[in-house]
């Protein structure tokens, strides 16, 4: 397997306070990596670092295997979209295709087909002529996910994708992501609080806690101290 993303001793800090201390991990092509940890453990910060939206204070995060920014899809934790923004659902989904267009100014048939396919996959194609701001939180989430799918050629980064979705929609979303990972070979990096899902779907787990990072397979994670700590408080049948 080819390396896709190498994180070497990356430290992130806000105003001098280290949120993540010397995180080390490597994501390989085709992997499904779940990032977990308690609130404030720096999950979203790490995602920003991976996407180049925040520079590490020390260490580095490198793209490998020829990965380029325009092959990445991204679902933000909370879209900073205001309610009165005049944006059509189709406009939003299509904007995910921009990163594959090079210098071409307009969308072509293939882009439109891709946007349609991604919206259908998320079950929101019927909303294509609606205004994004009028949709419910769950519907907006699906549209943004469709946009992320449009832009993800090799790597899909999801920041808490199921927040705001009901259980059946969450399951569908996990299945869709799994399908993208297995059938299309897209590498997944997903932040989630849902440890069950992480253990079920992921083949690597990165747990950020107290600034130290655990990195390993789900089996290793279950056996580890961090895993027991997080999993212990998470009773299920």
């Amino acid at each position: 397997m080819r390396e896709l993303l190498i994180c070497k001793g990356a430290t992130f800090s806000y105003e001098g306070m280290a949120v993540i201390k010397e995180a080390d991990f490597t994501a390989f092509e085709g992997e499904y990596l779940c990032v977990t940890g308690e609130n404030g453990s720096g999950k979203s910060t790490l995602i920003k670092g991976i996407l180049g939206l925040k520079q590490p204070a020390a260490g580095k995060i490198e793209y490998a295997g020829g990965l380029k920014k325009r092959e990445i899809g991204y679902l933000p934790q909370q879209a900073a979209v205001k309610k009165d923004f005049p944006a059509g659902v189709l406009e939003v989904a299509l904007s995910g295709c921009l990163n594959g267009m090079g210098l071409r100014p307009f969308y072509n048939k293939a882009d439109k087909e891709r946007a349609r396919e991604c919206l259908e996959l998320m079950g929101v194609y019927r909303l294509k002529n609606r205004s994004f701001g009028e949709l419910s939180g769950g519907e907006q989430r699906r549209v943004l996910l469709a946009r992320a799918l449009c832009s993800a050629k090799r790597l899909l980064v999801l920041d808490e994708p199921v927040s705001g979705l009901d259980p059946s929609a969450s399951r569908e979303l996990y299945d869709t992501v799994k399908m993208l990972n297995e059938d299309r070979g897209i590498t997944i990096i997903m932040v989630t609080h849902d440890i069950d899902a992480a253990l079920t779907y992921a083949n690597k787990i990165l747990c950020l806690d107290c600034g130290k990072a655990f990195y390993g397979t789900p089996e290793e994670f279950s056996a580890s101290h961090e895993g027991k700590k997080l999993y212990g408080g998470h009773r299920h049948a």
């Binding site: 180049g52 005049p86 944006a87 939003v92 100014p105 609606r130």
Partner: protein, 277 residues
């Protein structure tokens, strides 16, 4: 009616119409993004900077455009950057720069010529002062803004809608922000000669806000904003000629009236939509 048509026989009116329609078009297109990115007051702030520059240029007997263009452009960059860094609130930053420039401008004016007709023209605009150069500059900037919007429309949407996403997925957002700062600065410097420093905000924010009351997609909002702005400018200038009113104020008042109409239309249409659902 012949009276109305006669106004085009005055060269200064023909120049004012050509320059005004061009500026109205450029400002309303840029306005859509500026309003949505919460930069509504940038026009106001930059026009005060421009006022300060004009006062200094007049005192030193320099060319007004040569002083105000670079300084206003630099201020536009500064304001956009300040907002990004989040160290100073964006609206506060605009207020800081705008009031400081206004103060400097007023001091320079009172030390030199005193509050005369020129100052009044800077504040409220003067269609009489539009020169051939102003007209050509307005048309050039309008053509550039229209060209940028036509070719980069989808990218402008993406950067306006969700800048972090655009940046994360490989769009060079800095280029678009820089381009916007530059075009906004030039449009304001040119436009304030026409409608004045105090009213330039009006032609930047009213047309997009009015359009957004009824348009549900970015494309419709942008096109409608441009249409509203051009019609309001044309009607406003005609009204000012016919009724002998100040041109800038007439244009902005009409824009405000259209906004109120659109606001009502938006309320009615959403009420109808709800009833259908």
């Amino acid at each position: 009616m012949p009276d109305i048509l006669r106004m085009f026989s005055y060269p200064f009116m023909a120049r004012a119409f050509a320059a005004g329609v061009a500026v109205a078009l450029a400002s309303s297109l840029l306005g859509v993004s500026l309003v949505l990115k919460r930069y509504s007051m940038i026009g106001d702030g930059l026009s005060h900077v421009s006022f300060g520059c004009l006062a200094i240029a007049a005192a030193l007997n320099w060319s007004p455009l040569a002083v105000s263009l670079p300084v206003v452009t630099a201020s536009a960059f500064l304001l956009l950057r300040l907002n990004e860094s989040k160290r100073v609130y964006g609206d506060a930053a605009i207020a800081l720069i705008s009031t400081a420039s206004l103060a400097v401008g007023v001091i320079v004016v009172s030390l030199t010529t005193g509050m005369n007709v020129d100052v009044y023209n800077y504040m409220f605009g003067s269609i009489l002062s539009i020169t051939q150069t102003d007209m050509i500059l307005s048309i050039v900037i309008a053509v550039i803004v229209c060209g940028v919007f036509a070719l980069l429309f989808h990218r402008i949407f993406a950067v306006t809608f969700d800048e972090p996403f655009s940046k994360a997925t490989g769009l060079n957002t800095d280029v678009y922000n820089t381009l916007f700062a530059l075009l906004t600065a030039v449009t304001i410097v040119v436009g304030m000669r026409l409608v004045g420093a105090l009213l330039i905000s009006g032609i930047i924010i009213f047309p997009p806000l009015a359009a957004m009351r009824v348009a549900k997609t970015f494309r419709k909002a942008t096109v409608l904003s441009a249409i509203i702005s051009v019609i309001c400018f044309f009607a406003g200038l005609t009204m000012s000629f016919a009724l002998n009113l100040p041109a800038g104020a007439s244009v902005v008042a009409l824009n405000a009236a259209v906004f109120i109409i659109m606001f009502a239309a938006g309320l009615i249409s959403s009420a109808v939509m709800k009833r259908k659902v």
